[in-house]
């Protein structure tokens, strides 16, 4: 993979027609704004949920009411008005078009201009893929193959209907209902998301991405994801989309839980590109996400994220290394430009013996943005011979931006080995001059330098994603040196 990424990037960057997002006005089935027990009952009712789930929601809501918004993150924003949000909205878009011909030609034209692939266009418009010639084989064979292996990959709502026992068994076991303010809110009002179960000993033969998850609607404001890898199984899961995503909803508070049972491995990759607000810092999404995984004996969870979007990001994909010999990894690139603020990092909680964790974080700040890494490495008494390696690098593109690192280490076992490295550098005038002297223009030079800087992280991404992520980094930093 090391070979392909850069080569392809060079090529792809040449046709950089990929620009900022499009907004398509859509009608939707929305309930009135505001939050109350009645609203929660209504959501649960609309989704025809079992009683236990309604009770789960109500419990979360009642606890949430008593909680306070966290204030420790290095971000500033106006607190959302929770009574001014519509908590249920089923976009008409999610109703499938019968065929590609039915899709509004204007919408097609916009997407084509954006350079979005045909398949992606169909996914975005929610065309019933089965009706589209090109994708029939892909989609059907995909579903068949997964089905044969006993892999379940569906929307969260479907899972609640069709696999209630699995959902009930695992939901909330990694992130307690009332773990934090936004997780509690999510538990009360989540509308949909993804569910994935890999049976014992099965190696999922393809990357699972929502891209192929037919029947999935829009992601929703309070997304819920649950991935369970049973003993000895393997799955690589992709979340997000590099196409710029605009959303009417200002607040996004997702909850993602990963469960790796004994000897299992989960690779979870994200590209987050929510609308960051305009150049003056107006608008943009608040992205307050809780992501956590638990590793049982000899299992491994690896989080890879490329964060370029959102006005405010607050996100710490974490691993609880419960089982002996389990491994947690966190690879992150977070880019902030203009007035964006990101406070992101990870927690590695070592409980089992011989547990190992690796943290590689690359923060890139431009414009007047603020970019913070916040990490916790916690070695419990029981975690004999635990090992951690952390590397946090910050790259500054301007003199008005900020980069901050908050690494916390709590070690209660003297056999542990913890290494931490951190660097801060400014994008080199020398490097830029060198590139330009070879005929490479400023934007491309920045793209090259930044992608080189993030290579360790980008190399963790599955192929198609890596190429797009590199493009995205370049675009996110356009006109940012100063």
């Amino acid at each position: 993979m090391a070979n392909y990424t850069e080569e392809n990037l060079a090529e792809e960057l040449e046709n950089q027609e990929y620009k900022f997002g499009f907004v398509t006005p859509i009608d939707s089935d929305t309930i009135p704004i505001g939050l109350s027990e009645d609203v929660i009952r209504l959501i649960s009712n609309k989704k025809e949920e079992p009683l236990w789930l309604l009770e789960h929601r109500l419990h979360a809501y009642n606890v949430w009411k008593t909680m306070e918004e966290p204030k420790w993150a290095h971000v500033k924003y106006k607190k959302p008005d929770f009574q001014n949000i519509a908590y249920y909205s089923a976009p008409k878009q999610s109703k499938k078009y019968e065929s590609w011909d039915d899709v509004d030609p204007e919408m097609k034209a916009t997407m084509a201009k954006l350079g979005i692939s045909m398949e992606e266009q169909q996914r975005l418009t929610g065309v019933a893929v089965d009706f589209v010639m090109d994708s029939v084989s892909v989609a059907t064979s995909f579903k068949e193959k997964l089905g044969e292996l006993g892999i379940i990959f569906c929307s969260f709502s479907e899972a609640v209907q069709n696999h209630p026992d699995l959902v009930r068994k695992y939901m909330g076991t990694v992130i307690p209902t009332t773990d934090n303010y936004y997780a509690a809110l999510n538990n009360a009002v989540f509308t949909d998301g993804s569910f994935c179960y890999i049976p014992k000993g099965v190696r999922c033969p393809m990357e699972l991405s929502t891209y192929f998850r037919i029947n999935a609607g829009g992601t929703g404001q309070f997304e819920r994801t649950l991935v369970v890898a049973d003993e000895g199984s393997y799955v690589s899961y992709l979340e997000g989309c590099t196409a710029p995503q605009r959303d009417e909803n200002q607040l996004h508070a997702a909850v993602v839980e990963l469960i790796a049972l004994d000897n299992a491995e989960i690779k979870y990759s994200t590209v987050q590109n929510w609308y960051p607000g305009d150049k003056n810092g107006l608008g943009g999404i608040f992205n307050f996400v809780t992501k956590r995984g638990i590793c049982h004996t000899n299992s491994k969870i690896s989080w890879t994220q490329v964060e370029t979007g959102s006005a405010v990001t607050w996100k710490y994909p974490s691993c609880i290394l419960k089982g002996d010999h389990s491994i947690g990894e966190f690879y992150s690139v977070a880019v902030t430009n203009n007035y964006q603020q990101a406070d992101t990092g990870t927690k590695m909680i070592h409980l089992g013996k011989n547990t190992k964790s690796t943290i590689i974080s690359k923060g890139i700040s431009a414009g007047k943005s603020q970019n913070s890494y916040r990490g916790l490495v916690q070695i419990h008494k029981s975690a004999k011979n635990a090992r951690n390696f952390s590397q946090c690098d910050s790259l500054l593109m301007s003199s008005e931006c900020g980069a901050h690192t908050f690494p916390y280490i709590e070690c209660k076992n003297s056999t542990a080995k913890i290494e931490h490295e951190a660097t801060t550098s400014k994008i080199g005038e020398d490097q830029l001059f060198y590139c330009k002297q070879r005929g490479i223009g400023e934007e491309k030079a920045i793209g090259l330098i930044v992608n080189g800087y993030c290579k360790e992280v980008l190399n963790q991404l599955p192929m198609e994603f890596a190429v797009e992520a590199q493009k995205l980094l370049t675009i996110s930093l356009e006109g940012s040196v100063g």
Binding site: K436, Q437, G439, I440
Partner: protein, 251 residues
Amino acid sequence: MITIKNLHASIDGKEILRGLNLTVNAGEVHAIMGPNGAGKSTLASVLAGRDAYEITAGEVIFEGTDLLSLSTEDRAREGLFLAFQYPVEIPGVSNVNFLRTAINEIRAYKGEESLSAKDFMSLVREKSALVELDSKLASRSVNEGFSGGEKKRNEIFQMAMLAPKLAILDETDSGLDIDALRIVAKGVNQLKSPENAAIVITHYQRLLDYIVPDFVHVLYKGQIVKTGGKELALELEEKGYDWIKDAHPTV
């Protein structure tokens, strides 16, 4: 090729180039020598378009166009190449990707199509063989962890790949062993044609045994104070710069 007239340039308020004149015609090789701090690298940087310098007077005509009005990258695209005295490291970016980007940017500027991966790779093979560059270096990150000599050789490799009209070599010979010196010279000589030219900045006449200059200039205190044939280099080697300095106490 290039005509430099009365060039004055300063950095941080300090004047370094003080009325420099130089004309280089196509097909010629010019050597520039001179004591440390004379302004040789400054001249190279100013011609290449480094931001930090302020041009206070003078003009530079490169192939009929006003060089100083072009951006750094456009100067490169017009065929000006600088082999750096201190080549820069770009971690995580392979030499190959770097050069491919450069070549395709230059081609785009000229309205030419991008080079296919296949053609590009065969060019890499040809040119790396020419400068005897280890093929491993071609795929490693740009200059990262290269030895001093490898960096210099990589500059010549890049020059060979980009085939510029005017190459400015800033002390490419320093830090090179005798074999590397010969190889670098071979690279420069290969590029030599009636359409191209080179300005070779060096402290050692040794290099000029391999790259035979048409003219040798002495740069001192921001001016060209003496010009001669290749025998001037020998004379400087023998006598040092004192006699030049004595002749120009107040430049």
